[in-house]
């Protein structure tokens, strides 16, 4: 399904918290495309994200190759330099920094290597431009998410890893977020979207990976999944989408 060369190739990935195995032989590869990964709480999605960007804990074993280069065991900052941008669950903005400082703290070397500069981010999210001097954590939920995305974009990644960006956002804001994701993908960025919100996942990506108990249990498509109410119940454990798109 992946178009062209695989951008990210995960093989035999395991992740541990102490002796607890949270990701077990995860295997998948994605190209410069948008892929959504869904699954219930506690299935290992966030652990997989953390393992990919080199955040410990968890401890990762196995192989994650990005553009052919092995990432497992490399420090987090080098993985970012290699070209993976991370939008973490819960945004994780810096309380001591203003909006503008969130963008200006990124190294010039990474800012210069692509199209994303602070000005370009303000153009994408004009609402942030009006709030430059405010502390990042005083923004509204939607604005915080914009800042978390803008901050990751400034590192000019080739792959953007977003962990539950729709969490806690109003439906109208989620719609805006979907638009933003589509725009980014159309500009040629790879997107791995980890979501519990099936509506958002299927709106952004056609290719869907389903994670169950630390494994990629199923690969399917948005069209197929929206039509299969039984599968939605089984893999997400929530009420299915009211109207299959």
């Amino acid at each position: 399904m992946a178009r062209g060369e695989p951008l990210l190739e995960v093989t035999g990935l395991r992740a541990y918290y102490g002796s607890a195995l949270v990701v077990e032989d995860a295997e998948f590869s994605i190209g410069t495309e948008s892929v959504a990964m869904i699954g219930r709480n506690g299935m290992g999605k966030t652990s997989l994200c953390k393992a990919t960007v080199g955040m410990a804990p968890p401890v990762a074993r196995g192989s994650i190759r990005f553009e052919g280069r092995e990432l497992v065991g490399r420090p987090s900052y080098k993985i970012c330099h290699a070209g993976i941008g991370y939008v973490p669950q819960g945004r994780r903005l810096f309380g001591s920094l203003t909006v503008d400082e969130h963008l200006r703290m990124i190294s010039k070397r990474m800012v210069r290597r692509g199209r994303w500069s602070p000005d370009a981010v303000y153009e994408l999210f004009p609402r942030l431009a009006d709030r430059r001097r405010i502390s990042g954590t005083q923004l509204s939920g939607g604005e915080q998410q914009m800042l978390a995305i803008g901050r990751a974009l400034l590192t000019n990644p080739r792959l953007l890893l977003m962990d539950e960006p729709s969490e806690g956002l109003a439906p109208r804001i989620v719609e805006e977020l979907i638009e933003t994701c589509r725009t980014l993908v159309s500009e040629g960025i790879g997107l791995l979207l980890v979501e519990q919100n099936l509506g958002m996942a299927t709106a952004v990506a056609e290719r869907i990976l389903v994670m169950v108990s630390g494994r990629i249990a199923l690969e399917t498509t948005a069209t197929e999944l929206t039509g299969d109410i039984e599968a939605q119940r089984r893999y997400l454990g929530v009420e299915p989408l009211a109207t299959p798109a």
Partner: protein, 327 residues
């Protein structure tokens, strides 16, 4: 509501009483030259210049302990090391100014070495860091006795700062060097504030303190940046040691004293707050000097206790320190 009303009221009354007490003692016989006014001016200036010395030393500590949360119990040793290195350099024929700069840089390098070799593996593990740095402090203290002896010694201020100048008040004269320390403290405060507030380095240090893992995943080599901040903090301790070695003395035990004063300043002022460190240093310096002179005769020996009363009062009223953030 973090400020507690009862203790707060009590501590304001205490402060008011102390000010009135000192004012009566100092100016009770009028403001003329025959009264106690001149003594008060000199004592107050001594307090402020001691506070400046405390601030220079503690500003490094607020960076290392307050901001980066590295429990560095060797800060006092770095202070004393800075002084001794400068003394050694002067004894080998170097001028005071060159010795000051070089001693600060060497102390910074020693601090950086301790950080990179021993501390950065234990980030966030307070007890381990405390034990490791206590070990470093003990080793450094012994080694300094071996190399520099246990007899108190001191540095001579540079010729251009060695004189006294008239204050234009009560025909008093005051050592230029002590005034120079006050100026140096102001410069240190301004530069540190500018660096933390406005440079990318400062932003990264603040971000790294908030969320280290997230900062790293934005492509920033956090241990390297923290190493840089540790260097600056240690160099400031060394700088304090050169100043302190010039107005006070260099001797075993000074290391513990300045670790203690730095702890008091940073805890009173609030962890990580530069303004807090300035106010804390001023309170500590003034209380030490004024209490030595103005306490009733039979209590003079207890003046050291007032330092801890300050600590207790501040912690009772504002547990996060005067300018500390709530955590």
């Amino acid at each position: 509501m973090l400020t507690r009303r009862g203790p707060a009221l009590l501590s304001w009354l205490l402060l008011a009483f102390a000010i009135v007490w000192v004012a009566i003692k100092a100016f009770g016989q009028g403001f003329g030259i025959s009264g106690n006014g001149p003594q008060f001016v000199i004592t107050a200036l001594n307090g402020v210049s001691l506070a400046a010395l405390y601030f220079i030393t503690a500003s490094g500590f607020t960076l290392i302990f307050g901001l980066m949360r590295v429990v560095n119990m060797a800060h006092g040793s770095l202070y004393l090391l800075g002084g001794y290195v400068a003394l050694d350099l002067v004894n080998h024929g170097m001028g005071w100014w060159g010795a000051m700069v070089l001693a600060a840089l060497i102390t910074g390098a020693v601090g950086l070495l301790v950080h990179q070799a021993l501390l950065r593996w234990n980030q966030g593990q307070d007890l381990r860091q405390a034990l490791i740095t206590i070990a470093v402090a003990t080793i450094l203290a012994d080694q300094m006795i071996v190399h520099f002896g246990a007899t108190p010694s001191s540095l001579t201020p540079p010729a251009e700062l060695a004189n006294s100048i008239g204050l234009g008040l009560y025909h008093l004269e005051y050592p230029v060097f002590r005034l120079f320390i006050i100026g140096a403290a102001l410069v240190v405060a301004l530069v540190l504030w500018l660096v933390i507030r406005f440079t990318r380095f400062g932003m990264i240090v603040r971000a790294g303190v908030d969320d280290r893992a997230m900062t790293s995943s934005l492509g920033i080599n956090v241990p390297l940046v923290f190493g840089g901040a540790f260097f600056i903090g240690a160099a400031l301790a060394g700088l304090g040691g050169v100043m302190g070695g010039t107005i006070l003395s260099l001797a075993p035990g000074q290391d513990d004293q300045f670790l203690l004063s730095s702890l008091v300043v940073v805890i009173v002022g609030g962890l990580g707050s530069l303004r807090g460190a300035a106010v804390g240093a001023l309170l500590l310096g003034l209380i030490e000097q004024l209490s030595a002179v103005y306490l009733p005769q039979q209590f003079t020996n207890d003046s050291i206790l007032l330092t801890f009363i300050l600590l207790v009062v501040v912690l009772a009223v504002r547990p996060q320190g005067l300018f500390g953030r709530r955590t």
